[in-house]
């Protein structure tokens, strides 16, 4: 009989391979000189050079970064405020608000995209960069609120009370006591919001109008319209960039990795 340990090991290695092999193959073949087939015809950087010369791609990247940056900043500011109010004030209908805030995190993305589309059409806002930004704020906001609320709940309320007793105004207390304590949660949620926004396709797809092509939209149309090796290179770049970002985030946080992950997973 085969030892259970081996079965377990094989199964895990198999699952890991399943998870990683496709993306790695894609990266390897993005350096392939041959334009179409999977036959290896030598190392080449030509597709990468082609990427550099693609003006539309440059524009899409710009849009993506702009949208990600704006929506992250807005979501973090609004989210911190909302989290403070929800945690520190007695708000009527908290239960309803809680449910309303969890809902966007669990429903399939397409519902979010469709609702936003209907909403924008109904209030007659032309679709464009602005609507995409609002859409991204909409899905990032609940996430930011969640992360910051969890952090707020762990803070000792005595610290804030002590500040007030020592004569600090409400604003001073927030600025000099609460905010510094919240910093890890704020940075963490901002990084999450930024990456999610940068990667988002579904919501963008439904809320984008002419002139608001983002990087994922560009990738999508490239996949749809025909396979050019250029997209292999682009995909490889995107994968490597996101891996680099994760590495950077983990190093910046400097916290035990495990803790960080469990924190971010709660989203």
């Amino acid at each position: 009989m085969i030892k259970p340990r081996w079965v377990l090991l094989m199964a895990s290695v198999g699952a890991m391979l399943f998870l990683y092999a496709p993306v790695f193959l894609l990266i390897i073949f993005s350096f392939n000189a041959s334009p179409m087939s999977v036959r290896w015809e030598g190392l080449s950087f030509q597709w990468y050079l082609q990427l550099l010369g693609d003006h539309a791609l440059f524009e899409a990247t710009q849009n993506s970064l702009l949208i990600a940056l704006t929506s992250t900043v807005c979501a973090v500011i609004m989210g911190t405020g909302a989290a403070m109010v929800l945690e520190r004030r007695a708000v009527r209908g908290v239960r309803f608000l809680n449910a309303a805030l969890v809902l966007p995190l669990v429903i399939p993305e397409i519902l979010m995209g469709v609702s936003l589309l209907l909403f924008f059409v109904m209030i007659q806002v032309p679709l464009g960069l602005i609507t995409v930004m609002i859409g991204h704020i909409a899905f990032n906001l609940p996430l930011v609120i969640l992360v910051i609320r969890m952090r707020l709940r762990k803070l000792d309320p005595l610290l804030e009370e002590a500040a007030r007793d020592l004569g600090a105004s409400a604003w001073q207390t927030f600025r000099w006591v609460t905010l510094p304590l919240l910093r890890p949660a704020i940075i963490g949620s901002a990084l999450m919001a930024f990456t999610i926004s940068l990667d988002d396709f579904v919501v963008t797809f439904f809320t984008a109008g002419p002139g608001a092509t983002t990087l994922p939209l560009k990738v999508f149309s490239m996949i749809k319209t025909g396979i050019t090796p250029e997209i292999n290179a682009l995909s490889a770049v995107l994968v490597m960039v996101s891996m680099a970002l994760i590495g950077l985030a983990l190093i910046l946080q400097g916290k035990p990795i495990r803790q960080k992950i469990e924190g971010s997973y709660q989203g």
């Binding site: 699952a15 998870l19 990683y20 894609l26 073949f29 399939p108 609702s115 990456t195 994922p216």
Partner: protein, 254 residues
């Protein structure tokens, strides 16, 4: 703000563009054509969830019981796909499955087949893509739960002459129930409304709820009907959440 958007989706149903109240859209939904798509989506989501569980459980168990030194690294390896662009990950399969893709060239090179197999743009491709896309959602909650099961329990089972298999089957599996349920919800719900995978890997031939909604909205432009479909999907999601809520809470914020 988000709820605003959602409430508008529901309102759109009652007449949408023309603002005439009617149940017609819901009556149309009962059409076997659409019923079929609901059923297919359910089936796809269910099978994907099951497959993710089968593939994910051993991996989660192995990670949870890995030597302390390796654990964080292994855990991160499962998480990286979360931050990798979903489109790119789906495209990677394009590359493998298409007629002149990796699998076909490999098999033809070995002389196993003479004609390329048609895998891309079939249900099989969609299924593979879905499992691949949502596997991490299953593994992460499982690892967190299994890790909290004290190792001593396994040792006790062994002392009582349980084989390795029965230890897993009768000790670990029941104790990781909250993780299993949590993981299943996390896989089932997004796959129910999945759009990218069936659209790209199914090539329009594999119609699921996500692609149907997209079509109603962006191609046919029958918004009230699209809203009706979305609303029913929403109802299904909420139902799934309610059913599993009690258990799912145990995996949530600890």
């Amino acid at each position: 703000m988000v709820m605003f958007g959602i409430s508008f989706a529901t309102r759109g149903i009652y007449g949408g563009v023309e603002w005439i109240f009617s149940w017609n859209n819901y009556i149309r939904l009962a059409d076997p054509l659409y019923g079929n798509i609901y059923l297919r989506s359910f089936l796809f989501a269910g099978l994907t969830t099951l497959m993710c569980l089968v593939l994910g459980f051993p991996l989660a168990y192995a990670i949870a019981r890995a030597p302390q030194r390796w654990q964080p690294l292994l855990f991160i390896l499962v998480l990286i796909p979360f931050w990798t662009n979903f489109l790119v990950r789906t495209y990677a399969w394009f590359f493998i499955l298409r007629a002149d893709g990796l699998i076909n060239s490999m098999f033809m090179g070995m002389g196993v087949i003479s004609e390329p197999l048609e895998i891309l743009y079939t249900d099989l491709a969609v299924f593979i893509g879905l499992v691949y896309g949502y596997l991490p959602f299953m593994v992460v909650p499982l690892v967190i739960v299994i890790e909290r099961i004290p190792r001593t329990l396994e040792e006790a089972a062994k002392d009582l002459y349980a084989t390795a298999w029965s230890t897993v089957w009768r000790v670990i599996l029941p104790l990781s129930k909250p993780g299993i349920i949590g993981g299943c919800v996390l896989v089932f719900i997004p796959t129910l409304g999945a759009f990218i995978t069936p659209y790209l890997l199914g090539g329009g031939r594999s119609m699921l709820l996500g692609t149907l909604i997209q079509q109603e909205f962006l191609v046919i432009r029958d918004w009230p009907f699209g809203a009706a479909i979305s609303f029913v999907l929403m109802g299904m999601v909420l139902l799934a959440l309610l059913v599993t809520r009690k258990h799912a809470e145990m995996v949530g914020p600890s």
